[in-house]
């Protein structure tokens, strides 16, 4: 399979791969390794903003690239119960084939799970 330059870049760099720990760090995950796709986000909340974000991902290059991009884009932005961009826009950005759109929904589910975990405590 061929991947566009954006997918290649975020798949290969994955700057925010890893864990966060400490106060006001909230975790959310979705998917299942045995099913081929699993994503986890660690988010650090600070005064209503996302101070930091890390991800882990088991999956195809589109899944990894999308998770890496989401983690990068969200830092410094207000906490909100949505991805930095719509699933449709992310699918276009990374030229995700139609058959793989479900993988982006796993990224979204993991993200929302982490946000919800934080909002539950912080609000």
């Amino acid at each position: 399979m061929k991947y566009n330059a954006e997918t290649r870049h975020y798949f290969e760099t994955t700057a925010r791969a890893g864990h966060l720990s400490g106060a006001k760090v909230y975790r959310g995950a979705a998917g299942d390794r045995e099913q081929g796709s699993w994503v986890q986000f660690d988010l650090k909340f600070a005064s209503g903003n996302l101070a930091d974000a890390r991800f882990l991902a088991f999956g195809c290059p589109h899944t990894i690239a999308a998770a890496a991009w989401v983690a990068e884009q969200a830092v410094g932005k207000p906490v909100a119960r949505r991805l930095p961009d719509s699933v449709q826009a992310i699918s276009l950005k990374f030229a995700v084939p139609l058959e793989k759109l479900g993988r982006l929904l796993i990224v979204e589910d993991a993200w929302l799970a982490a946000i919800d975990a934080g909002l539950k405590v912080e609000q």
């Binding site: 798949f11 994955t14 791969a17 390794r33 045995e34 882990l56 999956g59 195809c60 793989k100």
Partner: protein, 416 residues
């Protein structure tokens, strides 16, 4: 070369605009320059372009080239030249063998035996026969990919007309015990033995007559010949095709052709023969046999080097019985890594095949590895390394270095 040097070498190799290291010789091989030169001679010749079926001098010259190539192909596999039917490749040869036998012997029986780990060009015709009302037995190999000849014996029925078992498996490289299966088919008396040997020539000995094979499929492009060239060897020897076949009339195996229009190739494969393709295949096969011993020894050392390097990564499992396989193929699964990502990470540096059949955007796990009992995840995270004539120690070291780095990176990202 240590791991760091290997990664630097891979980086320099890629930055220099070089193509990735090619370790996918089981998918196809480059045409050997000696083969290409001989084919170009035929294509450029003022006297060798004739239709081999024509009755003038041009036809005679082309016909002689075809017959010389036929003799080379026959010699490479222990057959008689008159038994070789040129085709467009092994896929066509497999189709001709299976449908040709099925159609000719349909009144004798409608049962066929094959293995779950055969190539798609055998399995898909079998499924088509099933759709037409045939009974197909799909034998399950052991965890190493090997069939027990007793499995074939147990599956044979009075109405079995064909047993189709490949020689060297295209994904894991294991060599089936064709001689024993041939004996069993001969004792049955009515079951012909078809063997897909697309991966065999130049890698291990193939003796058509001695192994008791009735039909043998061959491919040129897996042995440094051109794509679009292959052959089906159809036994003409007395006793071939089973005692009951001979009793039914004539010696050898009978086939109903799949295409009509000229009667070429003993009436089994109509169409004007491509002289340069046949010459290319003959030249490639002669070369493959000549180089087999030295190349196999050299490649066995490279395979050992590759396996040692990969197993040092940890969480790497070898697929297929290592004691009964050709050294040209090494199939391994990587724990804790997703297959498509692994392949994508390798793409800029090393060209290999994945254990997934990428017929769509969503990869399916290898059905061969699934048949061996590997889990869906491990089947999907497998790589097939195909070593060949151009492979060097440097290629192997680059592959080990890149894989060591990328497997560690992907496991880290996955939290494995």
């Amino acid at each position: 070369m240590n791991a760091a040097e290997g990664v630097n070498e891979a980086r320099a190799h890629t930055q220099a605009g070089a193509l990735p290291v090619y370790l996918d010789h089981a998918a196809t091989t480059p045409v050997d320059p000696r083969v290409a030169a001989r084919m170009a001679e035929v294509l450029n010749s003022e006297s060798e372009f004739g239709n081999p079926a024509s009755s003038h001098d041009y036809g005679d010259i082309a016909g002689a080239l075809i017959e010389a190539a036929r003799a080379q192909v026959a010699a490479a596999v222990g057959a008689s030249a008159s038994e070789v039917v040129f085709t467009s490749g092994a896929t066509e040869a497999n189709n001709l063998a299976i449908f040709g036998v099925a159609e000719y012997y349909r009144d004798v029986g409608r049962h066929l035996i094959t293995a779950r780990t055969e190539h798609k060009s055998v399995l898909d015709p079998c499924r088509e026969l099933e759709r037409r009302g045939w009974r197909i037995t799909y034998l399950k190999p052991d965890g190493g990919g090997l069939l027990g000849p007793d499995q074939v014996a147990a599956a044979l029925a009075p109405d079995t007309v064909l047993v189709s078992i490949m020689h060297v498996n295209n994904e894991i490289g294991v060599i089936q015990d064709i001689a024993a299966i041939g004996d069993i088919c001969a004792r049955h008396g009515g079951a012909r033995l078809h063997v897909d040997a697309a991966q065999s020539v130049g890698k291990c000995a193939v003796d058509f007559a001695a192994l008791g094979i009735d039909l043998l499929s061959l491919s040129a492009h897996k042995a440094y010949g051109p794509k679009g060239a292959g052959a089906l060897v159809v036994a003409q020897r007395a006793g071939a095709g089973g005692a009951r076949s001979s009793a039914r009339g004539g010696t050898g195996v009978h086939l109903t052709p799949l295409q009509f229009g000229g009667g070429q190739e003993r009436g089994l494969r109509a169409g004007t023969l491509a002289t340069h393709q046949a010459v290319g295949m003959g030249t490639a096969f002669a070369l493959a046999v000549r180089l087999q011993e030295s190349e196999t020894a050299r490649i066995a050392q490279l395979q050992q080097r590759l396996w040692q390097g990969l197993s040092a990564i940890g969480g790497v499992l070898r697929n297929g019985n290592a004691q009964r396989s050709v050294p040209h193929l090494l199939n391994v699964s990587f724990e804790g890594v997703e297959g498509e990502s692994l392949l994508a990470a390798l793409q800029p540096h090393v060209a290999v095949s994945t254990g997934s059949a990428c017929t769509s955007a969503l990869a399916e796990p290898s059905f061969v590895l699934r048949a061996l009992g590997r889990s869906e995840r491990l089947s999907e995270s497998s790589l097939r390394f195909g070593l060949g004539r151009s492979s060097s120690e440097r290629d192997i070291d680059i592959a080990i270095a890149v894989l060591s780095r990328e497997v560690a990176r992907l496991r880290r990202i996955a939290g494995s």
